[in-house]
Symmetry: C2
Subunit: 203 residues, 2 copies
């Protein structure tokens, strides 16, 4: 804070706040703040008020846990989505990435984390009861486990497969391997090991 003393207090406070964002250093925070100061007063005021309300305006879908405008998210409201498939993700913020791929047209379920026993996150901390209930309703035939490909993500996927199997559900795990278009030279050893161990026959 004290290093902001070259700026009026109101500017210094905004700079300090922006510095809290990931990947934003001191200079970038200054540059962004001065750019914001150049915005028309009305635009800036509207943007600020929008930010102030953001946590209230953005709600959690009561069905799947996705970010939503109202009680249900855009995807759960969309009757044209495949109601028989649920893709399970750790966080709601991962859903847009899958949506952008354009190759999945089912529903989602947000766990709100992953199993991390050392951090004190057990199964009761995850949004599992709602998932069990959705499966119990009988419409769902396919479960895609899209938790992370690291140790905790794999453990969470294994736990879910154990826990939710046996309902006649088709349970699958998204593939991990070398990213499409990436140079093999720069892949980490764990990814290369995974890519080789899970190689698939070409013919």
């Amino acid at each position: 804070m004290s290093s902001s003393s070259e700026y009026p207090q109101a500017l210094a406070a905004v700079i300090s706040a922006l510095e809290r964002l990931p990947g934003i250093g001191r200079r970038t925070a200054e540059r962004l703040t001065l750019a914001l100061l150049d915005w028309p007063e009305e635009t800036l005021s509207e943007f600020g008020q929008r930010l102030a309300r953001l946590r209230t305006d953005v709600r959690t879908c009561e069905v799947c846990g996705n970010l939503a405008d109202g009680e249900r998210c855009r995807i759960c409201r969309d009757a044209s989505r495949d109601q028989a498939a649920i893709c399970v993700v750790e966080e709601a913020t991962q859903i847009p990435t899958i949506e952008r791929s354009g190759c999945y047209h089912g529903l989602y379920h947000v766990l709100g984390g992953r199993l991390e026993p050392l951090a004190g996150t057990g199964p009761e901390e995850l949004n599992l009861d709602a998932l069990r209930q959705r499966i119990a309703e009988g419409q769902v035939t396919e479960l895609i486990l899209a938790t992370g490909s690291d140790v905790e993500g794999e453990a969470t996927a294994a736990f879910l497969a154990d826990e939710l199997g046996g309902h006649g559900l088709n349970i699958s795990r998204i593939a991990s391997g070398i990213p499409v278009g990436a140079d093999l030279s720069y892949a980490d050893s764990a990814t290369v090991a995974m890519a080789i161990n899970r190689r698939r026959p070409v013919r």
Copy 2:
């Protein structure tokens, strides 16, 4: 806007707004917005309200044109600053860069631009009358011209030297050292110190 459809409307609006900032692309705007959504509700609300008020809270110093908390900026209020020297800059946002160099202890004057005949910016568009008046008061003995090192900045400096010379003023120009064509706001402190220490007399 339409490409934000994977997000609730409130989030999409914030993403679109952040994309207007310099150096912030689509992905970075998304990442920052999701990070903001993770802030505690009270922190985010306070930050938003601060932004909304920013243009009202940050004022213009009635003496020098610097950004200010009140009627006068921190520097004009500071009696320990050298009242005999005025450093002339194009924009108020360039003052912190000079302050950080730690080698200038006089006052400032913000032109609010530079001569750009092709863009229609002539001498009457610059904050010159206030500068003439400050010089006429007789306390000022040194004028440091810290306009840009590009063509318009040099032309503006030359114009100021012609216009304001002959009052027994010691007029100097900051040394080249600032990369030609670069904005003073982004220069590193060592380069700014070099530029101020090696300023050369204009006449």
